[in-house]
């Protein structure tokens, strides 16, 4: 096995979702327009656990939430 260092090159995954009822395409109908942002932190942590990551820092604004992760 070659001597390995920390793998810098990333894997990137982007998933898009829509409301079951096409009339709910207007984000304001997705529960106060939050859609996926209504995922609670436990659910996010479950997903991140599957990816062997944890949150080390976070910031959000009107449009989206962002998290810095540590592997």
């Amino acid at each position: 096995m070659a001597v390995s260092g920390f793998e810098g090159f990333e894997k990137r995954l982007e998933l898009h979702f829509f409301g079951d009822d096409p009339t709910e395409m207007d984000l304001n109908n997705l529960g106060r327009g939050l859609g996926l942002r209504r995922l609670d932190f436990d659910s996010l942590q479950q997903v991140l656990h599957a990816v062997q990551c944890t949150v080390v820092s976070a910031v959000g604004n009107l449009y989206f939430d962002s998290y810095v992760l540590s592997e």
Binding site: G5, G8, R12, Q52, V55, L69
Partner: protein, 271 residues
């Protein structure tokens, strides 16, 4: 690594030996509880520096595609997987997309991968022993020392420095994110930059590219642009070549739900 959660999309970008694709099934499951269904997927990556260290399903692009195909609902019927080549043996760009319809938005994404960073630049991403700081305050110090904040002065920055080295930052500016990850160790130094833009944002991309190249001064840089409505890829070479980064290859391919992906590689003449 970084995670971005919008009302209608989620983006996860991880380095190291994480099993990123294992997030697909739980995300579909949790989103369904919110009354949301998956409409499209895009998976991209460069070549690993240490491929033999990657766990399943990241053991090969073929394994990744099979795993993704098995994880997705049949409703995502427009699918495509492609490995885009370059003239540099260690560089190619892997893309997989799937969607329920051929719906091209008007957002473009630019994903930059840089290797063989300038040693002085990379040196700024090492923690000073017993610096008395935590990841946040050391991250802030690195952001200031490298002028990363000037890439998009109007962005709010969330930064973090790892011990003994390494750095991650997310920038948020309205509905646009940007993100940087740095692995500065000599011999396999690496930095990435990514951001999104919309129709009127493409003009700024040349200035951003210059700033990024000046901060990290890589010997090799790949730039992947994914866009439906806007050909930002044409601005890349004219931004980088004055900085001594010569374009070595350019490959383009169409994807049903993402539009056109253009993958370009650049190296300095010192190569």
């Amino acid at each position: 690594s970084s995670l971005f959660v919008y009302p209608d999309k989620i983006i996860i970008k991880t380095c190291g030996t994480t099993q990123l694709l294992k997030s697909v099934r739980p995300l579909i499951h949790h989103a369904r509880h919110l009354g949301l269904s998956l409409s499209s997927v895009r998976y991209t990556r460069g070549n690993y520096i240490f491929p033999e260290s990657q766990p399943f399903p990241h053991t090969s692009f073929k394994d990744e595609v099979v795993y993704l195909e098995d994880s997705l609902p049949n409703s995502l019927r427009f699918r495509k997987a492609s490995v885009m080549p370059s003239k540099i043996p260690t560089h190619s760009w892997h893309v997989f997309t799937a969607s329920t319809e051929i719906d091209l938005g008007d957002v473009f994404t630019i994903e930059i991968c840089m290797t063989e960073l300038d040693k002085v630049s990379a040196g700024k991403f090492f923690r000073r022993p017993s610096d008395g700081k935590n990841g946040d305050s050391a991250g802030k110090e690195m952001t200031e020392a490298t002028a990363i904040g000037n890439i998009n002065p109007s962005a709010l920055i969330c930064d973090y420095a790892f011990d003994p080295c390494g750095y991650s930052m997310n920038g948020i500016d309205g509905d646009r994110y940007s993100t940087i990850h740095v692995t500065p160790e000599d011999g396999y130094s690496y930095a990435s930059f990514e951001t999104v833009g919309s129709r009127h944002g493409g003009d700024d991309i040349a200035r951003v590219l210059k700033k990024v190249a000046q901060i990290f001064r890589p010997a090799t840089m790949s730039v992947s642009t994914t866009s439906a409505g806007r050909d930002v890829w044409g601005r890349v070479a004219s931004a980088l070549e004055p900085l001594g980064l010569k374009r070595r290859s350019c490959a383009a391919d169409e994807f049903p739900s993402a539009g056109t992906v253009v993958y370009q590689t650049f190296t300095t003449r010192r190569k």
